[in-house]
Amino acid sequence: MKKIYETAAKALDGLLFDGMLIAAGGFGLCGIPELLIAEIKARGTKNLTIASNNAGVDGFGLGQLLENRQVKKMISSYVGENAEFMRQFLAKELEVEFNPQGTLAERMRAGGAGIPGFYTKTGVGTVIAEGKEHKDFDGQTFVLERGLVADLAIVKAWKADPSGNLVFRKTARNFNPPAATCGKACVAEVEEIVPLGALDPDMIHTPGIYVHRLIQGTHEKRIEQRTTRKKAA
């Protein structure tokens, strides 16, 4: 039951294949599994479908896999930060399935929770709901959305213990916990692996059962929009 691997390369060994579906945590560039993404770029795995709220930026995060033409399709809610994405999409070189952000998060959670479908008001009356099954509950109309199960989930946490228990930091948590649950396999990269017993059992965000492999590494943690205020004189 050894979950700790030395490198991203070793942690991904045997898990990557062309045409696979990968669920990735992160929001913008915050809390993205940057080390695992870099390794997937190095491997050159092709025809990927990636479920991730965003698509990184040009040259960083998932943007690197787009540039490297490894991505066939993105399942995302917002991709406005990425010029190469827009170019490939408008040129029809890239498929995109837009999911409302909450629907995407819930699809990941549902997929991980053995729920193949759930109803939501989100998107009813929009193109997002076209072709999907509708159903009325208590006089309101809802649309059926599907649980999402990925071949692999890649997530980034702050701390882990050797059993795979994960703790996230501030808004870097975001999609990582639901993504972790929806992978048939889940690899996590963390800033620090602490000894067993060092994490408060009441304060585990993602229990180790969801995490199959684990690496520790140094993260760039790039800031996308550096906004500040001045101290009053």
């Binding site: 929001f27 913008g28 560039l29 915050c30 809390g31 709220n53 995302s76 809610s77 917002y78 991709v79 406005g80 930060e81 827009m86 999409f89 408008l90 995109v96 837009f98 409302p100 952000q101 909450g102 629907t103 995407l104 998060a105 819930e106 990941m108 959670r109 939501t120 008001k121 989100t122 998107g123 009813v124 009356g125 929009t126 193109v127 997002i128 702050w158 996230f168 930091r169 501030k170 808004t171 870097a172 948590r173 975001n174 999609f175 990582n176 916990p177 639901p178 965000h205 943690k221 790039r222 800031i223 996308e224 929009q225 550096r226 906004t227 500040t228 205020r229 001045k230 101290k231």
Partner: protein
């Protein structure tokens, strides 16, 4: 004549009620937090996983792990709670947020909202906007009344793909404030120096009544 961005934000801030949980969209709605009336305590939700959003950090104190839904560095407050995206949208979809203030490309007299794409041209995605308009208690749109070319963005029917159908409660533009009511829009207030006639002239949508 007419309101500028900050005046629109200030007007939108008057919509806030004490004790409310509120989600502010990107752009002008973000400015609303600068104008929260004295004595009104609101908790700002950021849909990337935070309740109790504080102001921008002081220079040098930015934290890459602490951003808002616009990917801007922010700060936390003593009452802040962080959570994951599925929990965040559970509270949005579940109606726990009292109000969302959002930007728009177009809005219709039946409360339809379009703010996420222009087919063939611009494709950014809806982010959390579809969930917000479907789930929160009250939806207020803040937007310019007309396009750069002077065309009304307050329409009988939206021309762009919708973000939500019959979801908008109130529209705040540079020209005034309108409510979505049965049969069309109702003028609540005109912006400084704007007459009701100006407002009607700039609006394609049906505006009810001769009087307010």
């Amino acid at each position: 004549m007419a309101w500028d961005r900050n005046q629109m934000a200030a007007r939108a801030a008057k919509e806030l009620q004490d004790g409310w949980y509120v989600n502010l969209g990107i752009g002008i709605p973000t400015l609303v937090s600068n104008y929260i009336p004295a004595g009104v305590e609101v908790t700002l939700q950021s849909e990337n996983g935070m309740l109790g959003m504080g102001p921008f950090p002081y220079e040098g104190e930015e934290d890459a792990d602490l951003i808002n839904a616009g990917k801007q560095t922010i700060t936390e407050l003593p009452q802040t709670a962080f959570f994951d995206s599925s929990q965040s949208f559970a509270m949005i979809r579940g109606g726990k947020i009292n109000m969302a203030i959002l930007g728009a490309m177009e809005v219709s007299e039946t409360g339809d909202l379009a703010n996420w794409m222009i087919p063939g041209k611009l494709i950014k995605g809806m982010g959390g906007a579809m969930d917000l308009v479907a789930g929160v208690g009250r939806v207020v749109v803040v937007m310019d009344h007309t396009s750069k070319h002077g065309e009304s963005k307050v329409l009988k029917a939206c021309t762009l793909p919708l973000t939500g159908k019959a979801v908008v409660n109130r529209i705040i533009t540079n020209l005034g404030v309108l409510d979505v009511v049965p049969g069309g829009l109702k003028i609540v207030e005109c912006a400084d120096g704007v007459t009701e006639a100006d407002l009607r002239a700039a609006t394609e949508a049906t505006i009810l009544g001769g009087e307010r």
